[in-house]
């Protein structure tokens, strides 16, 4: 397990006092100056966030957060509710502009890049998406080709082929002529993933792709993600609720709490009983998954947790 050591000077652990905030402003100015030197080192990952402060209106979700997405990884972001994991994903996908700091894609500040160019490099499966009334599966998946098209290049043979491939690899090819509103939740999620695939981006971000699905479809979707990662070599970033799923499928895990990275690294280094308690406030055992050997979190029994809590209370 690697504690959050790679954050900028003064960033780790320091709260949100006024003093550190002015410090942050200086640092981000410095950060702007060394952008080129960073790019030239060549070891930098394609997607990263540097000292970003994320806020909706006045509500600050995370301050001076730095995250690197390792290339060719299946990175999963975990953490308790409202820890800022979806917010971080939104920032990484340029949906949310950081109030400080910056998100870099291929060494460039993501907001400064042309929208379609970003969309050809980085895809996103958001939580909220609307299937227009009366749209068929094939049509919806076809819309993923938008960033590759123009007025004079509306539907090339390549578009056709890629849409077919995307539908085939998500197992929705036989649904192509069905209406999206008629599908089950699991099928619909596959269709949206197929649309994101048709975008043909080397980086794909997924915001809670398994929410509202039953266990079989959850595993289905995650298997699909693993396949995309292993066989097509895409870099995947997903926000997941289920720590056990994350531990099983991720190659790189980022654990967030209260807008801070508590730990990151390979699942077997990161998922420990101590860390789960720190991040989720849950006492548990971590054992080896009998199927895969990855860490498996087993929450402590109710009585054990209750007596422990009582012990803490007495101690205090």
């Amino acid at each position: 397990m690697r504690p959050a050591g790679r954050r900028g000077p003064g960033g780790a652990g320091a709260g949100g006092g006024a003093g550190t905030e002015t410090g942050g402003a200086h640092r981000s100015a410095d950060g702007g100056a060394n952008e080129n030197t960073k790019r030239s080192t060549g070891t930098v990952n394609r997607l990263s966030a540097e000292n970003v402060t994320l806020a909706y209106d006045q509500r600050v979700i995370a301050e001076k957060l730095s995250v690197e997405i390792p290339d060719n990884s299946f990175t999963v972001i975990v953490g308790p509710n409202a820890c800022g994991k979806s917010t971080l994903l939104r920032a990484l996908s340029r949906m949310l502009r950081p109030s400080e700091g910056r998100v870099l894609l291929d060494g460039q500040v993501i907001q400064s890049m042309p929208a379609k160019k970003v969309a050809r490099t980085l895809g996103l499966l958001p939580q909220s998406s609307i299937a227009p009334d009366g749209i068929t599966v094939g049509d919806l998946v076809g819309r993923g080709r938008y960033p590759h098209q123009g007025i004079l290049r509306q539907w090339s043979a390549e578009d056709e082929r890629i849409v077919q491939e995307s539908m085939a690899s998500t197992g929705v090819a036989e649904l192509a002529d069905r209406y999206v509103d008629e599908l089950s939740g699991g099928q619909r999620q596959r269709v949206w993933i197929a649309m994101a695939l048709a975008q043909q981006t080397p980086l794909l971000l997924l915001d809670e792709p398994t929410t509202y699905l039953d266990i079989q479809h959850q595993i289905d979707v995650l298997d699909l993600c693993a396949e995309l990662h292993e066989e097509q070599g895409r870099t995947l970033v997903a926000v997941l609720h289920d720590l056990n799923h994350a531990a099983r499928y991720a190659t790189h895990l980022i654990a967030l709490r209260g807008g801070e990275v508590i730990a990151e690294g390979a699942p077997k280094d990161v998922v420990t009983a101590e860390l789960v308690e720190r991040v989720f406030g849950l006492r548990c055992q971590v054992i080896d998954d009998p199927e895969t050997g990855t860490p498996l979190v087993v929450p402590a029994a109710r009585k054990a947790r209750a007596s422990a809590a009582a012990g803490v209370a007495e101690g205090a």
């Binding site: 929208a115 895809g123 996103l124 227009p132 938008y146 098209q149 290049r153 509306q154 578009d159």
Partner: protein, 365 residues
Amino acid sequence: MKDPRTPGRPGASGTAEGSARAFHPRAVRTGGLSVRLDVRAATVVVLLLVAALAASVVLIGTGDFPISAGDVLATLTGNGNAGQEFIVTELRLPRVLVGLLVGASLGLGGALFQSISRNPLGSPDVLGLGQGATAGALVVIVLFSGSATAVTAGALAGGLVTGLGIYLLAWKRGVHGYRLVLVGIGVAAMLTAVNGYLITKADLVDAARAVVWMTGSLNGRDWTQVWPLLALCAVLVPLVLGKARGLRMLEMGDDVAYALGVRVERTRLLLMLAAVLLTAAATAAAGPVGFVALTAPQLARRLTRSPGPNLVPAMCMGATLLIVADWASQRAFGADQLPVGVVTGVLGGVYLLWLLVAERRAGRV
């Protein structure tokens, strides 16, 4: 949508030929170019255009001095007698052209607004643009007893100011469809009250003139109304159709559209501006003709059976609707007795009722 120039559903595995749901747009490709064509939508557009033109010819022939369709066509191609030529080209042709242009503008503006607000009721009449233009016109009629040209200018200014106001009031880190509709309804209610007040202030003659204007009418429209409207459409329609692909992406939610590389806010602002201009210009030319903007996109959508904003079909549908309604009002009540807005209002209501019954049977609403 599926106007023929925008990309459409991928021609997936060619299974269900002839079945209602599988109609595959063909892709027309030459070299590096490829254009999509939704056959059904294209057919609908062609049929609507034919219907609009046929209705126009009949409408030109209708009036106190009836002219047969053959004579109308002869006159239009320059082979008519002098008397007919005056009636056709000076009196009735401009009226029909204004009708076509107003209908098309309202249809397109309505389709844009409904798509942007993601709400089938989010049409310009519900959002207060019609009321804004009316307020502008009433100020001119009631407070200044202005000329017809002044009324047109007042309506245009009123519509534009209202559109701008609604956009600014609905702006809060972007314009959310639902907030847009609510703000629009608020503005519409205020303007309705202002209009009601202005009418109570007027003397009865001005009030009668104002009510006719508020209903929407094509009576007495001439070439001076045609040219500005035509110029505006010539600029705006290609612009809007060029942005139509982005609009289709917006239908899937802002996040998805962003992810696909659409500059969401810029696209939305541009399209709304175009929709406001189209609606305000149409309203200035013919008054706030009710329900064309609301029903044309919905009708077009049902004919093309295609998702998306259906911009071109909505435009053709709007033009056809308005011309047919004008013809119906002249046939039913005599020339220039009832303004066309009365007929579109009643037709629109009946259509919506039919829609409800039909949708209920299909179990969709």
